[in-house]
Point group: C2
Chain length 218, copies 2
């Protein structure tokens, strides 16, 4: 019974996700769903990514911020000078397609090329929920440990790209990049992997070029 | 409908949790449910805690390890020389009381004084599930950022204690201990707070003494 109800919820979500996807396609929008543990550096990577995209002037970005509570992240993002809206899930552990649908009218979709959706900090539940995005991007910080791709393989399987973050802290950890990369590829053989430090800028160019390469031509 | 079904699931879980609680009481067991993000240092803190408890010879510890996949954590814990069993949730984002009930026969409960249950790495969903534990303990690593108690208040509200981990990395982060402490106490005014580094041993004595103070006298 429990499995059946969960499947009904996912089916309903998938129908709304397809409606979101149609809206995004109509506006020629690249939509990236950023997923990772609490504190893996999603908002910080996003801040640096937005500032860099604005400076490079190829894409016009916007953002949707998902959190259980507070509007802190949307305020941080809005200070970057891009359109941003906050979703508070009031305890729910993931964003769903209905939440995204409800905030789209608050964004100037005609004036955007890429929309970042920052999911609730959670390496498990957001894997199951299609938001209508172009693709999921999973973040893993070096301070979390290199065993996470083996222990949380589902999200790596669902993601098109994986970003190893906080590379500036690598030297202070036992994180083995080769072990993490191997286990990511076991979960998803063709995953696109990045290693970045939003703080120092290490690895950011390749990440930004990848985003620009995915954006639909208008 | 969705809320109703979720409530039914929680009600069923609570009934099983009370059965677990009766078993723990019968064996005079202290049971701590450790909850935190993936990579916040649950297993490392547990390894050091177990080794220290064994050396101090006041309590006989055991452990239940929860993960989506792999038996890596139970193997790490078993190497400490304490009874340990692994639960693989196969994708589920939290442990529930039924999972705990199913593994209790594999543990020598008569020979234990304290049982640590390491939950799936997740700062959200495990908050809702009573496992029959004495209390929940939430872990937060300094590398995750000091905004987490404000952004994930539910789990802090449900926990009796909070352990700030990876204190040896504090100097490499922007983590503000006072801000984190303030927001923890907004969520839960009487939360017992610890600051530890399992790597250096900083703060471990107070944490161990607290555990020993909670254990039922036999």
């Amino acid at each position: 019974m429990r499995v059946k109800v969960f499947q009904d919820i996912l089916d309903a979500n998938d129908r709304l996700a397809e409606m979101n996807r149609a809206v995004f396609a109509e506006h020629h929008l690249l939509v990236l769903n950023l997923i990772g543990s609490p504190g893996c550096g999603k908002t910080t990577l996003l801040e640096k990514t937005l500032a860099s995209l604005l400076a490079r002037k190829k894409l016009r970005p916007g953002a949707v911020e998902g959190d259980l509570e507070t509007s802190r992240d949307a305020e941080r993002i809005a200070r970057c000078g891009v359109p941003a809206v906050q979703i508070n899930t009031q305890g729910a552990c993931h964003l769903d397609a209905a939440m995204i649908q409800s905030v789209l009218p608050a964004l100037p979709l005609n004036e955007l090329d890429v929309l970042f959706i920052e999911n609730v900090g959670n390496l498990v539940c957001p894997a199951d929920y299609d938001l209508g995005e172009t693709c999921k991007v999973v973040l893993l910080s070096v301070t979390e440990g290199d065993d996470k791709p083996a222990k949380y393989p589902y999200i790596f399987r669902k993601a098109r790209a994986a970003v190893v973050t906080k590379m500036d802290l690598l030297q202070h950890t036992d994180f083995a990049l080769d072990a993490a990369s191997r286990d990511m590829r076991i979960a998803k053989p063709d995953i696109v992997a990045f290693q970045v430090s939003a703080r120092t800028g290490e690895g950011m160019d390749r990440w930004l070029e990848w985003i620009e390469s995915l954006a639909p031509r208008k």
